[in-house]
Amino acid sequence: MSAKTLTEPADAAPTSGETLLEVNGLTKHFPVMGGFPFKRQVGAVQAVDGVTFDVHKGESLGLVGESGCGKSTTGRLLTRLLEPTGGTVKYLGQDITHASRKEIAPIRSEIQMIFQDPYSSLNPRHTVGTIISGPMEINNINPAGGRANRVKELLEIVGLNPEHFNRFPHEFSGGQRQRIGVARALALNPKLIIADEPVSALDVSIQAQVVNLLQGLQRELGIAFVFIAHDLSIVRHFSQRVAVMYLGKIVEIADRDALYTRPRHPYTHALLSAAPDADPDNNSIERIRLTGDVPSPLNPPSGCRFRTRCWKAQEKCATEEPPLLQIGGNDAGHLTACHFPEDGDAAAKRAAAAVPAARTTED
């Protein structure tokens, strides 16, 4: 709703080249039915509400946020696994928001998805070969040398033994299954991969293997990624630009360095300070402890959605929704949606002192 009113910052970061995906005011409301005897809509879960961002060719955009903030829904809207309620999605200039099945078919092969759970995203009754050649079969693609060879080639790219194409998913470990998912996503030479929490279901020692694999693919094949995750340090490692979501909205989007060193939105700041660090000597991180939970997206707070947990909230935050803008002192392309932004570096030092006061007032 609000995103439409805001002046679209004519792609402030032109460095990364051509725009691949243009998302404008993307909205998804899931209807909630109720009532007796006639079911009718009694409300809507505002899962994604006016999200605007671009993905450039070959870049990786990270999408971070707590569970329930709409990041996975956004990913599914981009691949049109869900039908958007409003807004537009443009792929290479072509509007695909409400494109029919036929119209979108050629584009589907260029936008692929990697799912979170490697156990439920592979059909247990199909062999690995069938799973990976499935996309080629559906799109009637016959690569030179035959599909079987292409499957073996893909298995090799993702670091699996090509001889294993005849095995079933249950014969592989979690990390290997996720590699099969990656191979399937690569089968059609996509230009954009939506990776929905690709490593969060894996063991710590395996996570790095899959992250390195994806990073290698991104560099070598020039595939653009939308990398959805809740782990801030992995997103920082993988993505050049990062968008932070809260309750269906993007609250801050910026280049990696700007976002992690100079967060301007209080929520970004709190999220960064809550991420645990394994270095016992790193005492520089100050603690901001958010109280309470994310409010329900059925009935989100008025104005700024973060105000119920924000230590800086004032009356203005309840009445007026802050637009996602480039605020004073930010680099180009660093957009923040906040009435009372943190002032970057200084914020890191002062916030520590400010937090206890905020806590006592809330109690």
Binding site: S205, I206, H230, S233, H237, P276, A278, R289, D293
Partner: protein, 356 residues
């Protein structure tokens, strides 16, 4: 299976005064595919008011060993050997009736998945009050009051009304708080937290870790904190035990294990997690391969198929002989590398990579 004959009891000399003391714990399951050696020769101590962090991958035996402490394994297909003493009382030989008196009273457990661990059929208040009523003989009214008090203590707003809610009416973080309230209702002296924050978001995770620390300071509870997140370990643990394939491979204080790890697995874990402030151009160093199957663990050192430093050990000792848990450069680790080799690998290869 292994050629090691000498006992691995290289433990702390003051074994008598530890609050929880586990000696040579072995847990085996009989399954259709054969015997799974889930935990082998595990030895550790925990003092009153301290926190022990147990780190390891899934299947490394970290949960299994603590379920054994609580006596929660099915005795029909599980063999447990060794000794576990809690405050001087032997637990493994204790009868079910004695254990029932201890569970929920002197020792309590927090499970990972709060939604699965809470019964959907009873209200939160009733579930919190149940162990209290059972162990103290309190009546329903007192139990309810105690439940409200516990909910307030773990920071649930409006506990008077929330006490009558059902688990599905709580959010994930609140359910985990309710679980903690349930575990703490009888003021246990030992709290086993099995990945209590893994399913939660970072902001809620930070709240729960803070809550546990506060509660520990108030009541002096000993905590065993199981996790795979080294960042959380850094926040909460005093001592750390690293487990791999059912065995302890490293044991020391939190600082020793995180800063001066002496085991290739510990190095692998530390270099495979991205740091929030590290350089982004340096690729992560994953541990190659996958965790071994406990049905058929590798001979010798269980980590040898994935170890990058195997060549540095003379001969094929890594494959034939299991390294004992020995003191090397300040704390215990189980590796055939000499202490000098470990120290030089640590200072020349691992630490520069971590600080880059």
């Amino acid at each position: 299976m292994s050629t090691l004959t000498k006992s691995e009891a290289v433990d702390a000399p003051q074994a008598g005064n530890a609050f929880l003391s586990v000696r040579d714990l072995r847990v085996r399951f009989r399954t259709e595919d054969g015997i799974v050696n889930a935990v082998n020769n595990l030895t550790f101590d925990l003092e009153q008011g301290k926190t022990l962090g147990i780190v390891g991958e899934s299947g490394s035996g970290k949960s299994v060993s603590n379920l054994a402490v609580m006596g929660l394994h099915n005795p029909r297909n599980t063999t447990i050997e060794g000794t576990v003493t809690l405050d001087g009382q032997e637990l493994l030989t204790a009868s079910q009736r004695e254990l029932e008196k201890l569970r929920g009273n002197k020792m309590a457990m927090i499970f990972q998945d709060a939604l699965a661990a809470l019964s959907p059929y009873y209200t939160i208040g009733r579930q919190i009050a149940e162990p209290f009523m059972k162990h103290t003989g309190a009546n329903k009214k007192e139990g309810r009051e105690r439940a409200i008090e516990m909910l307030r203590r773990v920071g649930i707003p409006q506990p008077q009304t929330r006490v009558d809610d059902f688990p599905h009416q709580f959010s994930g973080g609140m359910r985990q708080r309710a679980m903690i309230a349930m575990a703490l209702v009888c003021d246990p002296q030992l709290l086993i937290a099995d990945e209590p924050t893994t399913a939660l978001d970072v902001t809620v995770q930070a709240q729960i870790v803070d809550l546990l620390k506060d509660l520990q300071q108030e009541s002096g509870t000993s905590i065993v904190f199981i996790t795979h997140d080294l960042g959380v370990i850094r926040e909460i643990a005093d001592d750390v035990l690293v487990m791999y394939a059912g065995r302890a491979v490293e044991r020391g204080t939190m600082r020793e294990v995180l800063k001066t790890s002496q085991h290739p697995y510990g190095w692998g874990l530390l270099s495979s997690i991205p740091r929030i402030n590290s350089s982004v151009d340096v690729p992560l160093e994953p541990i190659p391969g996958t965790p071994p199957s406990l049905l058929n663990p590798p001979t010798g050192c269980a980590f040898n198929p994935r170890c990058a430093y195997r060549e540095l050990v003379d001969g094929d000792k890594c494959v034939t002989e299991r390294p004992p848990l020995e003191l090397a450069n300040g704390h215990l680790s189980a590796c055939h590398l000499t202490p000098a080799q470990k120290q030089s690998i640590l200072t020349e290869q691992i630490l520069p990579r971590l600080s880059s």
